[in-house]
């Protein structure tokens, strides 16, 4: 099952201006195994793998792939050496089609002319092996994120990579797609491939992992057979402290109704949605991918046009045509894609926090009061424990968890009535996750209505007081979180309408 060592990285160090990303890290991968690479965000996992795949150059240490030592690895060399990486942030050329993307950089040619027919057939072959229904001639930009990820995986397969690095591959996949991915991983293992699996979904690992390497703060902590660790031990190694309660739910008394949505309709994804939020409770929205939860929040927040529906805040009907209306009414949203929709990554933290709150920090002449701005920003950093050397750092350079905190921070500066979180802890390390939970709890305690969407069932069950399940655009179930079971939730989440 497990063969010889195919990747050996020893005493790797890497520094960026002002940050020591990797300090004497060693890593080993054998053929035929899945090695989980775990660690909080900022632990150095991505950096280490980027060095292995040739994106970054190491400062010190040795890299051996298949027994051969490599000094200055570039992406093309890494590919040739058999290392393929599938990034968490998908890297596809949206204007090219599936086949063109799959063979980008290594196009098959007939003389000097591209052999499109051959590439399309080969692409089709790999897609079929994955069991995915995608036409190789489809333009990638028109496909949803989950399908794009499948293509990335197929692309790596087509390179016949012996070393496959997967960075959060399942974050946008449905459970069916995950099962298929795992069966393919098993197949790759039996063929002698070594797979580095980076994921924050610790529950998934048990199904697929052989060994685990844990990193923390740029250092190698420990590694070993997965079975020899308990989940608590793994988490403890990752955060350096024991997390007694993974989900710190706080008990609050449910107060009066704060927010109500009636008969919301917005396209195929939001059909006749009605629900309400109360003071002192967190409502979690569960469901499969494509259930319509994100679309619901966007319709409420005024981003997408709604066809019909009423929104009632504190017993008064509110008219929301655009996000500005929602914000003024006191309804705020932390979106699913925080890099794209939640932050202006090229602006500083200061500017991001201030952006929706300019009405609060500008004088009557429209000039920004810098002192107020700084105060607001520093308060946000304090309240949310945002790890940053200063507020004039580009938001895009923060880690995922800290970015999420900035997104939340800008809303907390206002007195909001309803805070909507869409996948607040996706791609965030365990420690930061807990901090986000604490933030949600604090809001709950303050009487603010909190609604959050999550695809991690344990999270929904652990933090929410009430769970609403959606399927195919409709609300199919409502459960009390303390008595709900995963089976029940799954039942409601798969309650599709009969097409017969």
């Amino acid at each position: 099952m497990m063969g010889e060592v195919i990747v050996s990285m020893e005493h790797i160090s890497k520094s960026f201006p002002g940050v020591r990303a990797l300090d004497d890290v060693s890593f080993e991968l054998r053929s035929g195994e899945v090695m989980a690479l775990l660690g909080e965000n900022g632990a150095g996992k991505s950096t280490l793998m980027k060095i292995l795949s040739g994106v970054y150059e190491k400062d010190g240490g040795t890299i051996r792939i298949m027994g051969r030592e490599y000094e200055n690895l570039n992406p093309k060399q890494a590919l040739d050496a058999g290392v393929a990486i599938i990034h968490q942030e998908l890297n596809m050329c949206k204007d090219l089609n599936v086949s063109e993307n799959m063979f980008l950089g290594r196009e098959h040619i007939n003389g000097i002319v591209l052999d499109n027919a051959e590439m399309e057939n080969t692409a089709r072959k790999y897609l079929d092996e994955l069991g995915v229904d995608i036409d190789p001639l489809e333009t990638v930009g028109s496909l949803p994120v989950s399908k794009q990820q499948m293509i990335e995986i197929a692309k790596a397969l087509s390179v016949n990579a012996k070393i496959l690095i997967m960075d959060e591959p399942t974050s946008a996949l449905s459970s069916r797609e995950i099962k298929e991915l795992f069966s393919i991983i098993q197949r790759l293992k039996s063929q002698g491939c070594g797979i580095v699996y980076i994921s924050h979904r610790l529950e998934e690992l048990a199904h697929i992992t052989d060994r685990v390497t844990i990193m923390r703060d740029g250092r190698y902590i420990t590694s070993g057979d997965f079975d020899s660790f308990t989940m608590d031990e793994i988490i403890a190694n990752m955060v350096g402290r024991e997390i007694k309660e993974k989900f710190p739910r706080i008990k609050c008394t449910r107060g009066k109704k704060v927010f109500e949505v009636r008969g919301l309709n917005a396209g195929r994804s939001v059909r006749d949605v009605s629900f309400s939020l109360h003071e002192g409770e967190i409502v979690g929205f569960a469901g499969l991918m494509g259930a319509g939860r994100t679309e619901t929040t966007r319709a409420i927040f005024g981003v997408d046009k709604k066809e019909s529906g009423t929104i009632i805040l504190d017993d008064k009907e509110v008219r929301i045509e655009n996000p500005m209306d929602a914000i003024r009414a006191g309804i705020v949203l932390a979106p699913e894609d925080r890099k794209k929709d939640g932050l202006c990554t090229k602006l500083t933290i200061r500017e991001n926090v201030a952006l929706p709150n300019l009405d609060m920090i500008c004088g009557r002449d429209g000039v920004i009061n810098r002192k107020k701005e700084t105060q607001m920003c520093e308060e946000a950093i304090r309240n949310l424990s945002i790890k940053t050397p200063g507020i004039d750092i580009d938001a895009g350079s923060l880690s995922g968890g800290n970015q999420q905190k900035v997104v939340v921070g800008k809303w907390l500066a206002r007195k909001s009535r309803v805070v909507i979180f869409d996948e607040p802890t996706r791609g965030i390390d365990v420690g930061a996750k807990v901090e986000i939970y604490h933030i949600m709890n604090r809001l709950k305690e303050q009487g603010i209505a909190v609604m959050f969407i999550s695809s991690e069932m344990p999270e929904v069950m652990g933090i929410a007081d009430r769970i609403i399940v959606m399927c195919d655009g409709r609300i199919t179930g409502e459960l009390d979180a303390e008595t709900a079971t995963q089976n029940e939730i799954l039942k409601y989440a798969t309650q599709f309408e009969s097409r017969l």
């Binding site: 204007d95 063109e100 950089g105």
Partner: protein
């Protein structure tokens, strides 16, 4: 059986990305041409068609160069000035007695050097293409002025003699082959070669990839620097050829030759469906765009229309074309 095959071919053609936009541009071309012809039937005359094909060739070549650069998401502001520099340099060399072929080779070498510089500045040093090519635009225009001492050149035949001058001018402008002016054939052949290069070779594919997502391209092992340099080399090559044509047309070098041509190139590309954001558009569309531009210029002249009308109309069309392509992208 035959019908099945025929629809298969049409489907195949329509599947080519960018074909829809190109065909729409051709449709617009026909509408405009017919409209002008109705207003002045001489527009339909054979002589006028010949003229049209000849004079659009300049814009077609500039459009090809500019399209290559635009598809990677960059822009080339220097191509017009390079054309001017090429016209002046070729003419000046010839007035000094240099053999036309040698003069063209030397000029081409200089123009390609500018292309190389553009490519390195944008590709390797990551200068914003607007700024980098703005700089080379001024440099090239300055060179065009200086090369003959801040004057337009004499007639190219002063030293070489009338015969040499005539054969040069005939080759690039006044001569005909198979009933069409040489200028058109030159542009058409170059069009075919670069169309093939863009759609059927690896480098062509990489050009689209860079324009679509340069990060993804880089991570897939595409040599972004080399490919960017190639696009600018092609662009300045086209500029150089246009310079030859302008020199042959006037029989001398004019310091202002090629002025503002770079913008006409952008317009031709955009009308034909080449998105200035990069990643999409085909040269067939550029062909249509250049034809639209020339038909407008020619038609307005033939009906004695006011100055500026052409500019306004082209401006409206460019804005409309870009709006449509942006709306389309948003739908995806």
């Amino acid at each position: 059986m035959y019908r099945a095959r025929k629809t298969g071919l049409i489907k195949k053609i329509m599947r080519i990305k960018g074909m829809g936009a190109a065909l729409t541009a051709f449709a617009g071309l026909v509408v405009i041409y017919v409209a002008f012809g109705i207003m002045n039937p001489m527009v339909f005359s054979g002589q006028n068609i010949l003229n049209l094909l000849r004079s659009m060739s300049k814009y077609l070549l500039i459009g090809i160069g500019q399209s290559y650069v635009m598809i990677t998401g960059n822009i080339d502001l220097s191509i017009g000035s390079v054309a001017g520099m090429s016209a002046m340099m070729t003419a000046t060399l010839m007035t000094l007695g240099v053999n036309p072929l040698l003069a063209m080779l030397i000029t081409m070498a200089v123009c390609l050097t500018i292309g190389f510089i553009n490519g390195v500045l944008v590709g390797r040093f990551k200068l914003p293409p607007f700024i980098a090519t703005l700089g080379t635009m001024f440099i090239a225009r300055g060179a065009a002025y200086i090369v003959n001492g801040n004057r337009n050149t004499d007639n190219i035949g002063v030293v070489l003699g009338k015969d040499a001058a005539d054969s040069f001018q005939n080759f690039f402008y006044y001569g005909k082959i198979l009933g069409l002016f040489n200028t058109f054939w030159i542009a058409f052949v170059i069009f075919l070669v670069f169309y093939f290069f863009l759609s059927k070779t690896r480098t062509g594919r990489h050009i689209y990839a860079i324009g679509s997502n340069v990060e993804a391209a880089k991570l897939s092992g595409v040599d972004v620097v080399k490919t960017t340099v190639k696009t600018y080399l092609i662009s300045e090559f086209c500029g150089a050829v246009v310079g030859f044509i302008l020199c042959a047309q006037a029989g001398m070098g004019n310091m202002e030759a090629g002025n503002v041509y770079e913008m006409y190139g952008v317009a031709a590309g955009v009308i034909g469906g080449v998105s200035p954001l990069g990643g999409s558009g085909i040269l067939l569309g550029t062909f249509a765009g250049a034809a639209v531009w020339q038909t407008l210029e020619n038609g307005l002249n033939m009906i004695g229309a006011q100055v500026g009308i052409q500019r306004i109309v082209i401006g409206v069309m460019v804005v409309a074309a870009v709006l449509v392509s942006v709306i389309r992208n948003r739908k995806d």
